[in-house]
Symmetry: C2
Subunit: 306 residues, 2 copies
């Protein structure tokens, strides 16, 4: 999907937030924000993809701030916040009536985790009420039956993660998916190759010991979402071989929808955290979504007709 | 006062908002936002004054959009919104116990009006609850006793307006002040000389017939706040002759605090609608303030000492 005019406000807020995060020196904060403005101006146009625009600008920020991981502290906080909730959430899922209900609850839990995000939300925003609200809400777009059917016949599943914090909740869904495949190597979890925004990296995955119940790889790069042309051979091989792909969060959605992947069994799980994404999907702001690639194509075709 | 790093987010949001306001054509919206970015980059530095930076950027927007009054519709809406409340507010003031209480209530009413502002707030924000909350709240900084004393000895009062909408509520305070001066020409109300942001202009003043109980002039220019060097002779004469000045809103506060006006009896009336202004004054976001120039100097001196 392409950016909307209002994406200018969001990207500059991210840069302001992170400038204040990496230094207390106001003169330096001005230098960092000002240093990103020409790059924002260059990348901001009606054909830009939000995740790709964000990638270029956040990479530039890392360079001019000489800071390889500006969100490090915030990611640790996000992981801690998620850990505080994980037991409650697990208990809720245990009480599920059946397989489909359990799957839905797992998906909602990972969307609750997707609330922990300093891209669309300001660092100062209190995300705890949003986690609770999401857990107690319904999926606005619900392709869970389709996903359950596909899981039952899946040989190899690729699970593309989004943010730190969120990844703690992702484990619940990953554990459930694992029951449907034969081997630990048949569920592949992908995190970022290098730090970018608050996205989960191998460090997060290792701290959470995800390798105990899945094969963990990286995309091989510091891309917000996925730019296939910049991914590692290893990632591309898994992407090709997987007969079911689950992509978490807005960045993966924004970027993967730029490719023709109609032949893939691909599911997007996300909270629509800004108007441009909500509008593109056809839901309201802050709605929770489990959307198959197939369903998305139908929706877009209907919009084109009307 | 000077801008803070986060002022970048606010100014770009204003430009996005107003681009969407003046055209439905998305390509044109991108052109307008992108067209303002180099000017934002040029004006944005640690020594910039928010109201002055805003002036340059909004003037540039008017030029590249070929639209002399981008906020025209929004200002009309703001005036209508305020008119819906004016009777309720007048009734509240009528029930005042005494002169000081009446003055405070009038001041709070004009601050409630100051909630109607598309500078710091997004166009989509619902301002009605904010008006009601302000009316029922207290002044966080309250120099009303000092103002009442000064009013009693005032010969000539200059009242510098801020926004459309707000100006409807200003009338209540202007009418009260009028009782303390001898002649209609001794209370001078200043609006903007040309449209800028959602600031009140002569058209707003004329529609509200303010000239029936005050002398109405303009600043002679389209400045957010006041840049004395750009004001008309007429305004400067009234500014010089007034022995009591009341300046409404953040723009006037941001800009007038850049001058040495310690010799003036000057009062700022505003709602602190963003963190940089709230921090500078030493109050919380959304607090209501009636602050004398004298008190401000004392506060700033104390901050310097600590």
């Amino acid at each position: 999907m392409k950016i909307k005019p209002e994406c200018a406000t969001c990207i500059i807020r991210q840069i302001v937030d992170i400038s204040i995060e990496v230094t207390d020196d106001e003169i330096e904060q001005f230098r960092l924000v000002k240093g990103c403005m020409p790059v924002i101006n260059e990348e901001y146009h009606n054909n830009a993809v939000p995740a790709w625009m964000g990638t270029v600008i956040h990479r530039h920020f890392k360079k001019i701030s000489n800071c390889e991981d500006p969100y490090k502290r915030l990611k640790e906080t996000a992981n801690d916040t998620a850990q505080n909730y994980i037991e409650d959430v697990e208990n809720k899922i245990k009480n599920s009536d059946n397989e489909l209900d359990r799957l839905k609850k797992c998906v909602l839990a990972t969307i609750a985790g997707n609330s922990i995000d300093f891209g669309p939300f300001s660092i100062s925003e209190d995300i705890v009420p949003m986690i609770e609200h999401t857990l107690n809400s319904e999926l606005k777009i619900d392709c869970s039956k389709e996903l359950l059917e596909d899981l039952k016949s899946a040989k190899k599943v690729l699970y593309i993660c989004d943010n730190a914090g969120e990844i703690v909740f992702d484990i619940l869904l990953i554990k459930m998916i694992k029951k449907y495949v034969n081997d630990i190597n048949d569920i592949v979890v992908a995190v970022k190759g290098k730090p970018i925004l608050n996205d989960a990296t191998m460090e997060d995955a290792e701290n959470l010991k995800i390798n105990e119940f899945a094969k963990v790889i990286t995309t091989g790069s510091d891309i917000i979402g996925i730019i296939l042309e910049e991914c590692s051979e290893e990632f591309l091989k898994e992407f090709e071989q997987a007969d079911l792909i689950i992509a978490k969060g807005m960045g993966n959605f924004e970027s993967l929808t730029e490719y023709n992947l109609n032949h893939k069994k691909l599911y997007y799980i996300l909270k629509a955290k800004c108007d441009p994404v909500a509008e593109f999907i056809g839901v309201d702001l802050k709605d929770s979504v489990l959307l198959s690639n197939k369903q998305l194509q139908k929706n877009l075709a209907n919009i084109d007709k009307n």
